[in-house]
């Protein structure tokens, strides 16, 4: 499935990129979520894929015989997903509050802090 996943990863990255380039805050959030998915899938795929053999050691056994999935990328992704969730949750609320405070979700109208006086 490598080939398909590579394409999916590309599409997710593309979609994320496209969405964070929109002017609407909500779309930017969606873009960030896409990028998160893309990164996770990227690590997962690049850590090499194994079907149907999770890294669980059977009861009574000491270790596993190949082939089995590399547990490390999984652990990394797990951490990344969780971190991503925390950050995303914050970002969603941030964007909402921004909309409430600024009164628009049009990013082109949020330039005051960059303006040259």
């Amino acid at each position: 499935m490598n080939f398909l996943l590579a394409i999916i990863i590309g599409i997710l990255y593309g979609a994320g990129t496209y969405m964070i380039l929109r002017r609407s805050l909500v779309k930017v959030i969606l873009g960030l979520i896409f990028l998160g998915h893309a990164a996770n899938l990227l690590i997962f795929t690049i850590g090499r894929l194994t079907k149907g053999a999770p890294a669980f050691i059977p009861q009574g056994a000491e270790t596993l015989a190949e082939p089995y999935a590399d547990p490390l990328p999984q652990a990394l992704i797990l951490t990344a997903i969780v971190i991503g969730f925390g950050v995303q949750a914050f970002a969603i609320v941030l964007f909402k509050r921004t909309y409430q405070t600024v009164g628009t979700d049009d990013l082109d109208k949020m330039k005051s802090t960059d303006e040259l006086k």
Partner: protein, 766 residues
Amino acid sequence: MLTLILIGFAASAIAPLIYKPLKNYFGWIAASFPLYIFLSFLSKYNQIASGNIIKETIEWIPSLGINFTFLLDGLSLTFVLIITLIGVVVFLYAGAYMRGYEHADRFFVYVGIFMTSMVGMVISDNMMTLFVFWELTSISSYLLIGFNHHNEKSRKYALQALLVTGGGGLALMAGFILLSQISGSFEISALYNLNENIRNASTYSAIVILVLIGAFTKSAQFPFHFWLPNAMEAPTPVSAYLHSATMVKAGIYIIARMNHSLGGTALWQDTILIIGAITMLFAAILSYNQMDLKKLLAYSTLSVLGTLTMLLGIGSKLAIKAFFIYIIAHSLYKGTLFLVAGILDHETGTRDVSKLSGLRKYMPITMVTAAFASFSMMGIIPLVGFIGKETVYSAILEVDYWGLFLLAVAVIGNALIVMITILVGFKPFWGKLISTPKEPHEAPIKMWLGPLALAVLGLLMGIFPNVFIGRLLDQSAISIISEKLELTIKLWHGFNFVLLMSFVTLLLGIGIYFFRLKILDITHNFKLKKIFKPSEWYEFLLNGMMSFAKFQTKVLQNGYLRNYIIFILVTAVTLASFALFRIENALKITPDFSITFYEGAIALIIIISTFFVITSDSRLKSIVGIGVVGFVMGIIFIIHSAPDLALTTFAIETLTVILFVLVLYKLPRYLKFSKPLSKLRDIIIASGVGLFMTLMVLYITSIDLTSELKRFYTDTSVPGGKGRNVVNVILVDFRAIDTLGEITVLAIAALGVYALLKLKLDDRGE
């Protein structure tokens, strides 16, 4: 000597503490401190004059080769004595002059720092230490020019002086560093035997240019001269001290000091000669329509600085002698005249020469003082200025190729100086009295004592030149051109061509003075075109820099988030793709094309959902779509043996939906913002990013990965980690600290959400 420097800085620092209680005696107290330093160095006079050198090294930053290496030779001693002697006069004078000023205590801090730095600079043998002091003089000069900082002009010209001299300073530093690379040390004395190496070094020209830029800016040589007349915004004691007698000579000092190592080539000598000559003439001419006492003196100072530089450019023994005498003479009379100008300003309330006349009855002492200094400045026997000018002319006459031309330039320049002298030194006292803004009266003793002493000194030096100057002359020359002069100084050289020239100069000067007003009428409409004014170049550069800065900032920091993102992504993809395509066969990948039915279905669903989200016209649809994407991610994890990942993904997807749902209806509906063209641009960028990532994945998964880690974790999980779920053992044991960080992130995010929702301050943050 470091002790003296430290005392100097310490004394400057305590000035504000003792100023208020001791205000009435402050001039005397303040003057005692340069006097102390003066006397300390004077005590070394015999030692140095008899050909010894005093060297002292104290480690500072040895690993960079930067140390306090102080070296006292004829050249430095001469400068130290000038600096401190005039310091005594100026401090005493300022004690009275500055009384009316706000924060006069700060004035003494700045001047104290200046004087100490100036002393430090001329006795430093280590180029970087020298540079440190050099920059300190620039900074104290900045603070002093801007002393009347409520005045916009003061601020503006302080900045101008700082930028010009600061820029030159940077060049000087680079030059010093390059120079140090040749000798492997920052010691100037280490350069002494390396003349050949230095001149043959590939960096030689660069070094010369850099060092000279430093020197020229500091000594206000053409085309950097413009800051000096503008610096007259400073209180008069500052003009007398920094911008006439001492600081502006720092550049001259550097040329003299470096002449030994860098001189002897056409590049060095000719540059100095030409620039010096231009400055001499140009400055004198520029003075023709000035009416301000200080401005007039400033232009004459410029002219003298040019002359001094020119003399170093000539570089003959006679020229060095002239240089030496002239520098001393100038310091004495110009310091005096500035202080006189200050007295006039202080006691009458104006500095405009056209409004000053007939004051001789009211200020006789000042008048006498002015007269002595003026005679010296005009080069009238028996004052030291006379010897100076005579020697200068003699030295010029020695120059074979340029000689007569230079002489003409010198005569014209000096004639204009004569005119200035008459304007400053005589006109205010003679003729009919014109009423002045303040009722004129004689200055207090603190103000006239110093100038008078300097003026008298000028007379004594003229009469007994060998007592005062002669013995140091040879030692100084050794420092500059590494040979003794073996020339004696005499007041009277007999009736000769040079004397004739002096006479011509004087007559010409007096003539110009009397026809001055007519000349002014004729040239009334003549204005120098902007392009010929270096000060306009400065303005142009500064304004140009500002316009460009604004332009580039508006372009780059334009406020559009997506432009920032585009910058980042395009940079990333371009550079990374460039790096990727350097790989041979990067595109010859043979991926595994075998696909099962459900894999195809999964791919189809995730791709369609993605496009569904992108093209969706409603928020809720987008969220449903992205839910599907997350959901299919979970399925991919299941298929590829990652149940924990799948569990987590599903859980998080659901919670994200809940979050969205709680937030969403507070957010606006989608609006169609983007234009088709920008959509197209974004699609291209997005495709670039996607394509790059796809290629990376295909390429990397096609090569073999050998990781010891995978084996280790499964082998150790049960015996070491006591768990059969290897992923979980990694999370809570092998890499538990990752998890610790991860839960911290979560905690912070939650606190952040809480604070975001609860705390709502207004725009002032209250």
